[in-house]
Subunit: 274 residues, 2 copies
Amino acid sequence: MNTAGLSINLATVRQQWDLVEAVEACARHGIAAVDPWRDQVAAVGIDTAVRAIKDNGMRVSGYCRGGMFPAADTAGRQAAIDDNKRAIDEAAALGAECLVLVVGGLPPGSRDIGAARQMVAEGLATLLPYARASKVPLAIEPLHPMYAGDRACVNTLAQALDLAEQLDDDVGVAIDTYHVWWDPALEAQIARAGRANRILGYHICDWLIPTKDLLLDRGMMGDGVIDFLRIRGWIEKAGYKGLTEVEIFSAADWWTRPGDEVLRTVIERYNDTL
Amino acid sequence: MNTAGLSINLATVRQQWDLVEAVEACARHGIAAVDPWRDQVAAVGIDTAVRAIKDNGMRVSGYCRGGMFPAADTAGRQAAIDDNKRAIDEAAALGAECLVLVVGGLPPGSRDIGAARQMVAEGLATLLPYARASKVPLAIEPLHPMYAGDRACVNTLAQALDLAEQLDDDVGVAIDTYHVWWDPALEAQIARAGRANRILGYHICDWLIPTKDLLLDRGMMGDGVIDFLRIRGWIEKAGYKGLTEVEIFSAADWWTRPGDEVLRTVIERYNDTL
């Protein structure tokens, strides 16, 4: 089984292992890259996390996550910027290849998604010089429209690319099949992202039918309806040569299984998507 | 309280009343239009349904629903066309102002959403002459992307309008706030729909946070995050002068309350969206 090019987003095994255990397990399975979440890093401490990653020779395909820019008032928006700067510091310490941004939804009490989108654009513009100085590329991740209210008001790849273009040449996107597979414009927008060298991450995860929970019922590749071979073709045609990151939130299924079984299955199914 | 311009999609009270009871209840509350579902019509019989509607002087803002075009084989796709023709006959008998189309998702076992979309286009083209002869306008309803796999592979208003344009001048769209509120292109696409006189229905329903079920946890206007005043402004600016239809699937909340309470609340909240 081929593990070249594979990265494990550590949310996939968050219930089974802490960061150190997860990194060691990945190494044991021949997987050479991970994407940790901030709470996982915080739980063991940044120094321990950095050491585990270096000791195991891991690449860090991304760091999850920054973003969450909209807030009800100026102080809230400033707090978000400050928190994003800490995320950038951590990403730099970990050697992460990008900071993945889940941009945030509506501030509490707001119904103005246009205003939230404006806050995202302003937050990104404010954050960008710090990210650039830290040499941590920012990857805007468009999230499925079902998260528009509470997690991310950037909901299509076209919208993420519009935002990136409006900011600067060095802002990119993370493309997760789970969030974008339904989009009639997907092929064209992947090509557009490739032309501008903006694809900083490619994440895979399947869409289950039925989906029983909006957040925590994501599928292992092959168990749902996403055509991974087709989308991979578009990604490769767009010139992306980076890692493929498997990120599965699955409270009732994969999070309940032994971590080694999850990693074995990820490797098998990853091979089917190549 | 103003009930002018209000229509009740009878799914909103499907657990409380049969079609005849629901129509009579609407009349009692001063509501002069409904949109029944096919199973509700079948449960009382088409003749009884027609009589209840005529006796109560109801307009029928739409009929739910046709569509479901994709199927695994030719026979299945033909069966869908035949079933749509029956839906058109019923819509004509009821005097419905349009047949609402939920176009269908992936055929069983398929991961090819492009092929499903092609089947939808072909099914619509096949059905159109029959609809036209029956004087029943077809209203393509883009459904939220979370239904792309199992209910409707037409997921944005732009996509629905592209499809309508490719078919003919007399194909329209039904715009439901629940499905489209998140779309960054919504304002522009509503304007486009208006320019081409394609808005055949305007449905309202709120997006709850959290949403606990993908299908049956829709919200009463005002209980969620949709900015109805803003979207109504776009709809009116686009020249739409038709009815506003309230359609709420709510297994754990509104479907458990007395029907009269639901209708009273609908009327109050409808007034807040004007």
